[in-house]
């Protein structure tokens, strides 16, 4: 398509426009021929034509590199079946939950186990009846005997009758024993005798110990000797106190009855509740030095007596655990 805005013929007054249109290639064959004829007839204007011709830029070669920056590929849209989305969502939820639980465990420098309904407090017996004395360490060591729901737990292998622990209906209170290890023995928080597992393997079966009904106490052959200084025990009634306590102390022992513990106030009669079981007592000890948590769970199980028997039997289940954080 040529520039067709020319309504006149080329002459000495308008030749410049014709020259420029000619050089820009915007003239048709007829007008081009007219310009060439005009130039041959007007030799004095050929220099001006040549000057205008020199104003035309000749193309230069320039290269844009790298062109790979500009190349593109179609992105294929991948359609995932719905069940894959479900599986992926499930995995994501599980991973999130696992991460959350792990974070919670690692971040809790002070472990506190609390009962969820009612909590009774087990007293620590007096220190005049040591259960397990370390020959290398002549400091007096205490043991834990607790009585919950009217039952005693006695270190039978020592043959020492323990002072029955009283049940305190402390509501949701818990008792925390501080400095459960002796000074200088920073690695030990809870010491157990040979009958209890000493390693960190939780998979070992807990010992089962028959209990005497007459003494109404559980003979705890696989007893656990704890280095507890009762005089340093502190009764704590709320979590804030526990938190303050555990922040200041190197280690803390928390003895917490498990759920569904019935108190004296509820007139728990053991004889009438043979089919019931005692609830677990959780003992947990924290050690800030080696960042470990050690504890055990005890559970008394009463076996209903036969009709011909007058006594009932009980079993104590003990599980020991230890983990580091």
């Amino acid at each position: 398509m040529y520039f067709n805005d020319l309504t006149m013929d080329i002459n000495r007054n308008n030749y410049e426009t014709f020259f420029l249109l000619y050089l820009d290639g915007e003239l048709g064959p007829v007008d081009k021929q007219a310009v060439e004829s005009f130039l041959s007839e007007n030799a004095d204007l050929q220099k001006e034509f040549a000057l205008l011709q020199q104003t035309i830029f000749l193309p230069e070669e320039m290269v844009y590199e790298p062109k790979e920056l500009l190349f593109r590929k179609e992105e294929k849209i991948r359609i995932f079946p719905i069940y894959w989305i479900r599986i992926a969502a499930s995995i994501a939820v599980l991973l999130t939950a696992g991460w959350f639980i792990r974070t919670e465990i690692l971040s809790s420098h002070k472990a506190v186990i609390t009962g969820n309904t009612q909590a009774a407090v087990a007293d620590i017996p007096s220190t005049k009846n040591p259960v397990n004395t370390n020959p290398e360490n002549k400091k007096q060591m205490d043991h834990v005997s607790s009585k919950i729901n009217g039952e005693n737990v006695v270190q039978s292998n020592q043959g020492v009758e323990k002072k029955p622990a009283e049940i305190k209906n402390a509501g949701k209170s818990i008792i925390a024993y501080k400095n459960i290890y002796q000074k200088g023995d920073k690695n030990a928080t809870v010491k157990s005798n040979s009958n209890l597992t000493k390693d960190n393997n939780h998979d070992q079966n807990p010992p089962v110990v028959p209990l005497s009904d007459e003494s109404r106490s559980a003979a705890l052959k696989s007893s656990t000797a704890l280095e507890i200084q009762p005089d340093e025990s502190t009764l704590v009634n709320d979590s804030k106190q526990i938190s303050a306590l555990t922040k200041t102390e190197t280690a803390a022992l928390v003895i917490v009855p498990g759920a569904n513990v019935k108190s004296k106030n509820e007139n728990m009669d053991l004889k009438e509740t043979y089919d019931q079981t005692d609830n677990a007592i959780s003992v947990i000890a924290l050690n800030e030095n080696n960042k470990s948590i050690t504890g055990f769970f005890k559970k008394l199980t009463k076996i209903s007596p036969d009709d011909n028997k007058t006594t009932s039997t009980r079993k104590v289940h003990i599980s020991v655990f230890q983990f580091s954080y």
């Binding site: 020199q54 104003t55 830029f57 230069e60 320039m62 844009y64 920056l69 500009l70 190349f71 593109r72």
Partner: protein
């Protein structure tokens, strides 16, 4: 246009668009950015662009981007400093080429762009109207004024020399 058409467009016209941008802006980085953003827009609108008109589409985008960039930077005066690489690629008479490069700086932004589109890319007046959005009379008048400025510059340089 397909991705293949687009990549063909890159192969065919990236150099020309870069030359137009570099001659117009005389800034290598600006020119490269303009080329890249022009092709990016072409890719985004590839579904609406006819493969046969991708060059015109590219130069239209590039031209307007260059105008926007110049306005944004208030770079209405044309810088005369040329990169060494740019100066080292003369075509035809080296002396005339150098003089014309100087003369190009005498043109305003629109005149320069139209001369480059006309001479380097060979666009007709009609095509230039599509790219620039000017009407055909504006294109003709602008180009003719630019040629006369260049001619006057050549004459003055010849007189000096």
């Amino acid at each position: 246009m397909t991705a293949e058409d687009y990549n063909d467009c890159v192969k065919l016209y990236a150099d020309g668009l870069y030359r137009f941008m570099l001659k117009s802006t005389r800034q290598v980085e600006d020119a490269r950015d303009l080329v890249q953003s022009s092709f990016e827009k072409l890719w985004e609108h590839r579904a609406e662009v006819n493969a046969l008109k991708c060059k015109s589409y590219l130069f239209t985008i590039g031209y307007h981007k260059m105008i926007d960039l110049n306005r944004k930077n208030s770079r209405m005066e044309f810088r005369e400093s040329l990169p060494d690489k740019f100066e080292a690629a003369p075509a035809g008479s080296p002396r005339l080429k150098a003089v014309l490069e100087k003369a190009l700086s005498r043109l305003n932004e629109r005149q320069r762009s139209l001369v480059l589109l006309k001479d380097y890319e060979g666009y007709s007046y009609e095509e230039i109207t599509e790219i620039t959005g000017l009407n055909i009379t504006q294109v003709k008048v602008t180009l003719h004024r630019a040629r006369l400025i260049l001619k006057e510059w050549l004459v003055s340089v010849e007189n000096v020399l």
